[in-house]
Symmetry: C2
Subunit: 394 residues, 2 copies
């Protein structure tokens, strides 16, 4: 029986070519008088995007102060820097120009500006937020879905802890989505993003509770769409339509729509990857691809019908009477897809070689971060987590 | 190439058993001190729902005043009555307890309360709204999608004109969706609702512009889901899960999601039905079912590939080399579905027999209401509209 749910996706989407030129209008709708503009490395500087955005704000009389240097697996220290800068400058809005790491940093700064204590409390789940400064974004990579999601993930680089914090306050006010902005990404980043989008959908899809057909059908269609267009972009990176498909799918994959009426899904792979991302600076999507097959083989017997549906409806596998055969064909098809777009399906292919002690440490940290057993398909304890790291280490 | 778009679905969804008991909390979130409660016939009175809702409001100290008697194809006179009552009583929120007609009436009242002129101006498209009172709903039928859509449709019963008005102000603040509330509906109304949901999706699906795969896949999955569960409910009306599938699909079918990145679709059938609904008091969904096959046969040659996709992906037709054969099989499969749930596929089955003069009058009124040629697959002029009414008259 379908579970009850609450759902709200208030983010205004402004999608299409040149949409970043509407930034001043959007900030005016938000009554911003002074905006903190957060960005990452130099690409938004080199492309001229940042200068164009600031020029629009200047022309509209919207004050601004900039904070650059956000890194992938974004650091807590940058969040603290943003909170301090935002307070000093009296900003009233946080605009992220970049991808998931930049938007997540903007969200964390926004939480911190509305809170007297240490914002890391929220990510450690010892406190919860009761308000948040408004956030918006100009998205430059289709991946994390943070532009419409309620979540953000920050890494405490001193302790190596990568932690998520989700509340409805975290939903941005607007998302400017111009697929053209993603065309200059290296293929590896495009595909790592596509993998993240797939995984946001798959981790909601694989669950032990009854699901709604409408939710399943949306998730399955989304996965087929993302695979098709990721493969097109692997050989034709300038394909605007495929960029658009991936970008819009990235939002839908993580705004909650594909998990409606479920228990939220099974986020074990994300949790396992978070620990890997905290210890070895790997691309998030690539880390997920490297782990998923091992997780799937480890857990599928707890929910065989979900894995059969995945094989048949997402990968077009002809179902056989032998459930295991169908399931394994589905898992292999998913791994074949990852390889087809240059994504790893093992830790070796990912380029890391954790020692046994490191695997045990990651498993322990993961268990601790989850506050206990993790997963819906199968509840993983520390040893299960360790076993999955070992399975993936080939 | 996919078209640019803006999209925002801010309505808070509260979905599940007993969700109407959260009404006071939701109205408090909206800071309502006095709410106008709009409802239709006696069913929400007889079921005790209205009394329960008012008791929750009383307990929470939220003032209220009631306006009952909204009819299907809701009347402008009831809207005027609500505006007058709302002004006199100084309400600050409009709560619809009912289906699409009740919610549409609530929206029209909300527009009227925020406007000094005649609210019918908006529906005649001689003026546009710049604000609107806040609206929320407790939904009792899965059909119109008005609970999250930006639209409303009102009939001026003096002139027989049925007119739509769509703005982003028209999106309700919240929608309380308890599938159990729909279990007492007569099957004909359930199925007329399912047809309306199908048609909201189909009218977005059939278009001449390039579409996004992600949008198509969501629309196709939604249509398959609605057909499956409408058929289940035809024999098992108390099936909670199928009620839930239909209810959530009804919102997704009309909140804009299934039209993302298109020109909005081809709303000819809705326009043709509006005129029929204005002249003969027919159930909206049933009227759509009675017209659709004739519209499809009249226009398919303008967009054969869309009709092939519909046949293959929605109805599982094996594609043949003969496009026409595949298209017609798809149209026939859709009509077979309508018949399987007791819906008409002709005007005779719908139970109306317009004279030739009436068909001409409907065509003329439809053309005038559309302000010119109507449609995306094929632009219909007055004679085309007349021909479709004639085709359907068997």
């Amino acid at each position: 029986m379908a579970l009850d749910f609450e759902f709200m996706t208030p983010t205004k989407i402004v999608f299409g070519r040149g949409s970043s030129d509407k930034i001043a209008e959007l900030l005016k709708e938000q009554n911003s008088r002074k905006t903190l503009v957060v960005y990452g490395g130099g690409s938004v500087v080199r492309s001229g995007l940042l200068a164009r955005v600031l020029a629009h704000m200047d022309a509209a009389g919207i004050g601004h102060v900039e904070l650059g240097g956000v890194v992938p697996n974004p650091h807590l220290s940058k969040v603290y820097e943003g909170i301090e800068l935002g307070r000093k400058e009296g900003v009233d809005f946080i605009l992220a120009v970049g991808g998931g790491s930049t938007i997540d940093t903007a969200k964390a700064i926004a939480y911190g500006l509305a809170y007297d204590g240490d914002v890391w409390d929220f990510y450690e789940h010892t406190k919860t937020a009761v308000s948040c400064y408004p956030v918006g974004s100009i998205l430059t990579i289709a991946a994390a879905g943070s532009e419409t999601s309620n979540g953000s993930v920050i890494t405490n680089e001193k302790t190596g802890s990568k932690r998520a914090f989700d509340t409805e306050f975290g939903r941005p006010k607007f998302a400017v989505m111009d697929p053209e902005l993603t065309m200059t990404l290296p293929d590896y980043q495009t595909q790592s993003g596509a993998t993240d989008i797939m995984m946001h959908t798959m981790e909601r899809y694989f669950t032990c509770v009854d699901t709604l057909d409408i939710t399943d059908s949306i998730a399955e269609g989304l996965m087929r769409t993302v695979m098709k267009h990721a493969q097109i972009l692997h050989t034709d990176p300038d394909n605007y339509d495929s960029r658009a498909e991936l970008m819009w799918s990235g939002s839908l994959a993580h705004n909650g729509l594909t998990g409606i009426g479920t228990d939220g899904g099974d986020w074990s792979c994300h949790q396992l990857e978070h620990e890997m991302g905290g210890m070895f600076d790997v691309a998030h999507g690539a880390g997920l691809a490297a782990l998923w097959g091992s997780w799937a083989r480890y857990v599928w017997k707890e929910a065989p019908q979900r894995f059969v549906n995945f094989a048949v409806r997402v990968h077009g596998i002809e179902p056989s009477e032998n459930t295991e055969e169908t399931v394994l064909k589905g898992i292999e098809a998913q791994e074949a897809f990852y390889r087809s777009i240059g994504m790893p399906t093992s830790l070796k292919e990912l380029g890391i070689a954790p020692t046994d002690a490191q695997k045990k440490e990651m498993a322990q940290r993961c268990y601790a971060a989850c506050g206990g057993p993790q997963g819906s398909v199968k509840k993983l304890d520390t040893d299960d987590m360790y076993q999955i790291y070992c399975l993936a280490d080939h």
